[in-house]
Structure formats: C-alpha cells, structure tokens
C-alpha cells in the first residue's frame, strides 16, 4: 500500500480540478479560447448550416499522455500541432473522467460501447455491450463498408462488434489490424526490415506475438485498398512506427471507401511502459503530428471536407509523479485522478471553435454524442450526449 508524497493534492477531486484548471488556463493563453459556460444557452450551433450527410472520425490514444508532457508548460513543446492547428478549431473538454478499468483494450471497448466494460483486458473477447458501430449500422441501415476500426494490436481484433443479442455479428465494423496486414504482405520473408512496424504489446514487456499473415488480409489489400503487395510493402518501408502505418491505412481507407464512421486507435505512446521517458516523448510528438495529418486528410478528401466531425481523446491518463503507488509516467495502474482524468477535442463540422468546456464529463459520453450527431440511438450506453457539441 502506497505512502503519500508530501504536497500531493489531498483528494481525487482536487487533482482532477487542478488538471482541468491547468489545461484550461494554458489553452486560454495559447489560443484565446473562451469557456462554453460564458456563452448563452442553448448552444447556438443550430444557427450553423450543418451538412445533411455527416461523418465522424474518432482518434483515441491507447496509452494516455499526461498533462505534464502535453498541456502543462513543460510539455507544450511536444504538441505543437495540437496547439497551433487543432485546439483553436476545437471545442476542448478539459476534464474527461474514465471510471472504468484502465487497461487499453477494455478501456477502448468502453469508449466504443459507452459502457464501462469489465472483461479481462487480456482476454480474447468481444465487448459485452453493443458498440457504436453496431448502433450506427443497425439503426441507419448502413452497409459494412461504412464503419471501420483501425486498431493497433492483435488484442483489438474483436473491438468491431459485441456479442450482445440483437446486435453482434453482421452489424459491426470492419477491423483492420495494420500489423497483421503488413505481416501478411511479408509472408514470403523480409520481416527483419519491418520489425519496428510489427512490434506489439509494451505492457507485458514481452515478446510480440507472431502476427500471421493470411489470405483475408491480402484480399483486403487488393480489394479495398487496390494496392499491390509490392506497393504496400514499399510504402511501409518509409514509415517509422506502427502508428504511422495505421494512419497510412486510414488515409487509404478514407480515400477508397470514405466510411461515415472511422475509429483509429493510436498506440505508440504506450512505449512508456518500457520506462524510457525519451521514447514516451517521441510517441507523444508522433501522435501529435499524426492527429494533424488525419485532420488535413479530412480537409483534403472531398468525401469528408466540410461534413466531418473529428474527436481526439486518450483512452485514459497515466499515473501521477506524486502517486507513491505508481512510477509516474510509466504506467496507469494506481487508479489515481491523473490516470483517470484526461481530455477530449472535438473539431470539424458543426463544432464551435476555440471553446473550452470545464465541466467534468465521462468517457462513456462519447457514444451517445456520436449517436446524436449521426442520428442513431445507443440505447444501452451509460453516457449522456454532450450538448456543447450538438
């Protein structure tokens, strides 16, 4: 049981407020943003001309980044794109609380279902509750090509649909595991040159599973992306990390299929589990750059420009430096306020720019908000739609 560091804020609520305050003050200074609370209610977005067809792109970080390395003064140098390009265009939620299990797969599943899932993080199972993809496809009668997930590791291969009766198989999203795709493309050999893109789970500090290639993956390459194996491999050679591979795949998907609901989970930041602070910072910088790339892709693709809402949020935070039970940035095991409190940025079609929302929201609020935006009903979700973006 941990000893407490002198000077540690005394309650979780105090810590959460301190984090929120720090983000708010910084963003105000950096971007001149206003607080949503200072604006007149109801939120006057209905005055904006919203496009008839809307799309949503959700980007989560599997492996949260703390304020210390992002929005706090010491961290600002690591997120130049978010600060200069994205935050001024966004409604920024300074206090997103995750009250669930702080493991990446189960937490991402909770984000995608709007329910705090309780299954074993390392189990090869589908979420227990319907996912946002199932609500979207079933309610709106959308084809399977209209909802996709790009996920970082093999453990996420069941994130696309639940086992819930009445939903589940046939209603979920297509799941692309870029590393598996690459492994399939490399089935003839040559993995050694691409190991930096194939690495998997940092959390167990263990060997990466052998990501086996198969015919389905190769068919995905040719049918969906219309890419030859040779072209894909050649491009992959120029990439530095698994997240770069994921974003490359996302851009291909957006260009070829233009799904209305696209969910991308980045994971490079999770190298923090190895304890090397410099690599964690590299991961943050890369995620910052890749988020801006995704945003630019949205602006440049005709199928997305002007009608897409983008959400960016870490799945949760990481442990505080002052939480004696943890080891600071390295893990997210204590359940302290820093590890549970994170942020969310919403930007794009119909979103008020340069706006800060201080009130605490929960990570389960994302799904009902997407439901309100896109017009489906996530009946089993525990969260509430966010009026600030509707």
């Amino acid at each position: 049981m941990p000893r407490r560091f002198r000077g540690e804020p005394s309650t979780a609520r105090e810590v959460a407020h301190a984090i929120s305050r720090s983000r708010r003050e910084f963003l105000r200074q950096a971007t001149g943003a206003v607080a949503a609370g200072t604006l007149l209610h109801p939120y006057p977005l209905s005055a904006l001309a919203l496009p008839r067809v809307r799309k949503a792109v959700v980007v989560t970080f599997g492996g949260g980044a703390r304020d210390d390395e992002t929005f706090a003064p010491d961290g600002q140098e690591n997120i130049p794109h978010m600060l200069a390009e994205l935050a001024p265009r966004s409604t920024f939620f300074t206090q997103v609380i995750n009250r669930g299990i702080l493991g990446h797969y189960v937490a991402t599943a909770s984000l995608a279902t709007g329910v705090y899932e309780t299954f074993n993080n390392f189990a090869k199972v589908s979420p227990d509750h319907p996912t946002v993809f199932e609500y979207f496809r079933k309610d709106l009668k959308r084809p399977s090509t209209d909802a996709w997930v790009i996920a970082p590791s093999n453990g996420f291969n069941r994130i696309g649909e639940s086992a819930y009766r009445g939903y589940g198989p046939g209603f979920g999203a297509g799941v692309i595991l870029p590393k598996r795709l690459l492994a399939a493309a490399l089935a003839g050999g040559g993995e050694a040159d691409f190991n930096h893109l194939l690495r998997d789970n940092y959390e167990s500090s263990s060997f990466s599973p052998v990501v086996g290639g198969n015919d389905i993956e190769l068919k995905t390459l040719s049918d969906i992306f219309q890419l030859s194996v040779a072209d894909f491999v050649a491009h992959a050679k120029s990439l530095a990390s698994p997240d770069e591979l994921s974003v490359y795949i996302a851009r291909q998907l957006m260009h070829r299929l233009a799904p209305s609901l696209l969910w991308i989970t980045l994971h490079d930041i999770d190298v923090a589990h190895s304890g090397a602070f410099s690599l964690y910072l590299d991961g943050i910088r890369r995620s910052d750059r890749l988020c801006a790339e995704i945003w630019r892709t949205i602006q440049s693709e005709p199928e997305y420009a002007g009608k897409t809402t983008m959400f960016i949020l870490p799945d949760f935070g990481r442990d505080s430096d002052t939480s004696a039970g943890g080891n600071g940035f390295q893990h997210h095991r204590t359940g302290d306020a820093t590890s549970r409190t994170t942020w969310m940025m919403a930007l794009g079609a119909g979103i008020r720019e340069n706006t800060i929302v201080d009130r605490p929201i929960e990570s389960t609020d994302l799904v009902p908000t997407l439901g309100s935006l896109l017009g489906f009903s996530p009946n089993l979700s525990q969260g509430k739609p966010l009026p600030e973006v509707l």
Binding site: M1, P2, R3, R4, F5, R6, A12, D74, R99, G100, I101, L102, G103, Y116, T118, F119, N120, F122, A192, N195, H196, L198, R199, D200, N201, Y202, E203, S204, S205, S206, F207, S208, V271, H273, S274, G275, A276, F277, S278, L279, L281, D321, T322, A324, G325, N327, G328, F329, Q330, H331, T334, G335, D336
Partner: protein, 401 residues
C-alpha cells in the same frame, strides 16, 4: 477459507523467520478481513529476505494492529471488510500464494469498480499507521546523488527542468575528477555511518563499489538478464501464453533458477535484484529503466542513507523481440535519449527520497556527467535559483552541508 479459520499449522511452508512471525501473530491475522490479510502475508512470507528497514516496519505494523482494541481494529478495518469479494477469491490458497491472490484481487476490484474505494481505504490506513510510528533519529541526513548523460557531447535538451524548481542550478561546474569525488563521498559516508544496506551504488554500467556499499549493476547482471529473457521467450511461445500467466511465472521465480548460485551469496540482495527484473517493466532491456527502478526500490525498501545512481547509455529502441533476445541488428546505444531518460529518472529518485522519513533534512545532487551543469537541493539552499560561479565537485558537495 476466511482468515478466522487460520491455524498456525498452515504456515508450515513459510521460510523459518516468516513462519515464526506468522505463528506469533496468528490470533491477530484471524481477526482481520480477507481484503487485508493477504497484503500482510505477502510481506510476511518474504520476511527472511527483507531489508532491515522493511523488517522493522513490518514488525511495527503487526504491533500497531495488535495494540488496537477489538473495536478500534474493527473500525480500522471496516472499509476493507466491506469490500465485496468473490467465492473464487475465498477459495484460493491465499495463505501460501498471497502474491497471486493479490493479482486476482486487483483484477476483481477493477472489474467491480471497487478500486477507488480500496485505494482510499489503504491510503487512510497507511497514513494512520505511519503517523503512529516513532522512528529512531537518522545518524545523518540522507544524500541522493545522480550522474547522467555519459556519452553525450552536447545537448539542447533543457536539463533538470523539474529539479531546478527545488534547488540551485549550477552551470559552471568543473567536471575534473567529478565522478571520483562523488564515489569518494559515498565511500566516506559508508565508513562513517556503517549500516547494513545503508549506502547504495546503482550503476547502469559496470560495478562501482566500496566497503559498506551495496552495489547493483545492470552490466553485471547481464547473464541473469539473458537467462531470464530466455525463460520469458519459452513462456511466450507456449500455446497457453497470456501476460497474466507470464507475470505469475515471473513472480514465482527463484534466484537459483537464474544462475544466482554459489557460496557467500547475499540472499537478500539476490532476491532484491531478481525482483528488479521480474517486477520491473523494461528493466530487462533498458539500462536507464533499470537504474531508475532500482533506485526507487532501494529507497522504498531499504531506506538507505546514501544512494548514488549513475545512468549510462541504453540500447536504442528496437522491436521488443530483439531487445529481449539480444538478436537482430547490433545493439547501438542512444546517449541523447538516455540523457532524457536519466533526467526524468533523477527527478523520480529525488521524489522517492522525499517520501522517506527525514525528508526535510535530505540532500540531493544531480550532475550532467563530464559537463558543467548540476542541481543541488538541500534545506539551506534556496529553491529555484541559479549559481554561475566556477565550482569544483567537492565544493558543490559542500554546498549541501
């Protein structure tokens, strides 16, 4: 089984001192809830290999609990007793495998949304217990020293950004004989204040030790690390693999199974070093992570008077398979990244030192090895200030007095 059903005979598999301690306290253990007892047993079962400071605290904790009236103890344990546990947990052999039980308990508490309640309960308990402790006065203020940045010729990274706020930033340190001076300081303290496990040298590179100084070295542990990663690879390739099974396997590992055998070995230190590799994440592959974690654990567990931690360049980032197995491309080092790792590690070492008794009197020095930058933290030094005068390492150490 519930704690009330405990008998002295159930501790027969414990090591001798641990068994005696458990048997002596069986009545107390019977009176505590299942959400608490295994935490005590996890400490008790390792008693024979614990550092003196840990043994002292464990004895005090048992005495503290035993000294409470029944009503007081019930009140103290009320929040633990209210935790909703499962029949599976009750049926588990938590007497002989308390560590494994706690892993299961942790998963259960997360899944049933009781983690926050458990965390609050344990923090409250720990604070109350520590507040009740009367500790002997330290023979000297604690001193933490960190040297980092070996192999870096020039860096634009703003070093010591967190530590500067707590001490004096020096930017004109004469590096000549700096390392030797630091080691001499550690030696002198070990000679003046002899104490088992009271003075530590934690090295990313080769051993740097002296009489009375406990030394842990990443480089020295290479054969042990290799054996361990081979076992990890075998476990990984098993068809039944999952990360939880791997963790259980690591928790059950004995020093002998990694080749830590031979006469005159220090069993306590062997177990400590083993724990650095089996409980730490990344300690098997990065020397910087190893040094940071070793310093943390030495401070937390042994509560030493002196810690000297020295970072050396870690290997470059590569796929985890290659990092663990040592195969693939030739291992290049990343001095610049290691400087940044070490900078954060130094901050954590200071934080961990400040968690110990005597924090108000503690001293701390961090130095960019071979360069002119350092930060000194001591009660008499003004926080968040700079000192630009030319200064030798010996003089710098004197400012801490």
């Amino acid at each position: 089984m519930l704690p009330a059903q405990l008998t002295a005979g159930q501790f027969h598999a414990y090591p001798p001192k641990a068994r005696q301690l458990a048997v002596d306290n069986v009545a107390l253990l019977q009176s505590l809830p299942l959400g608490f007892v295994p935490f005590l047993l996890k400490e008790i079962i390792l008693y024979d290999w614990k550092f003196p400071a840990e043994q002292w605290e464990l004895n005090k904790q048992l005495a503290y609990l035993a000294g409470l009236s029944d009503e007081q103890r019930q009140a103290e344990m009320a929040r633990f007793a209210k935790l909703r546990l499962s029949p599976r947990l009750e049926a588990f052999d938590w007497v002989n495998s308390p560590g494994q039980f706690l892993e299961m308990l942790s998963a259960h508490l997360w899944a049933t949304h009781q983690t926050d309640e458990f965390r609050a309960a344990s923090e409250k308990y720990v604070h109350k217990f520590y507040a009740s402790l009367e500790r002997p006065k330290l023979p000297a203020p604690r001193l933490g020293i960190v040297a980092l940045g070996r192999g870096v010729a020039e860096s634009r990274y703003l070093l010591f950004r967190k530590l500067r706020r707590n001490g004096v930033y020096f930017n004109n340190v004469n590096a000549l004989n700096g390392l030797e001076t630091l080691l001499e300081t550690v030696k002198a303290r070990a000679a003046k204040y002899p104490e088992p496990y009271g003075h530590w040298s934690i090295q990313g590179g080769a051993k740097m030790t002296a009489p009375g100084v406990t030394c842990v070295s990443y480089e020295e542990m290479t054969p042990v690390r290799r054996t361990l990663t081979e076992k990890m690879r075998a476990a990984y390739e098993s068809p039944n693999f999952n990360p939880e099974i791997l963790r259980t396997m690591l928790a059950r590992m004995e020093p002998q199974s990694l080749g830590m055998t031979g006469p005159d070995r220090d069993g306590t230190l062997d177990r400590f070093q083993l724990s650095l590799l089996t409980e730490g994440s990344g300690t098997q592959i990065y020397s910087t992570t190893f040094v940071q974690w070793a310093a943390r654990e030495a401070l937390r567990r042994a509560q030493p008077l002196t810690v000297f931690a020295r970072y050396t360049p870690r290997q470059k980032e590569r796929p985890m398979n290659e990092l663990l197995s040592g195969t693939g491309r030739t291992a290049a080092t990343d001095p610049e990244g290691s400087l940044i790792d070490g900078d954060m590690g130094a901050y954590y070492t200071w934080l961990n030192q400040q968690r110990l008794p005597g924090a108000d009197e503690s001293r701390f020095l961090v130095w960019f090895e071979g360069h002119s930058e350092a930060v000194a933290i001591a009660p008499k030094l003004k926080s968040n200030t700079s000192d630009t005068r030319a200064i030798h390492m010996a003089e710098l150490l004197e400012t801490l007095a």
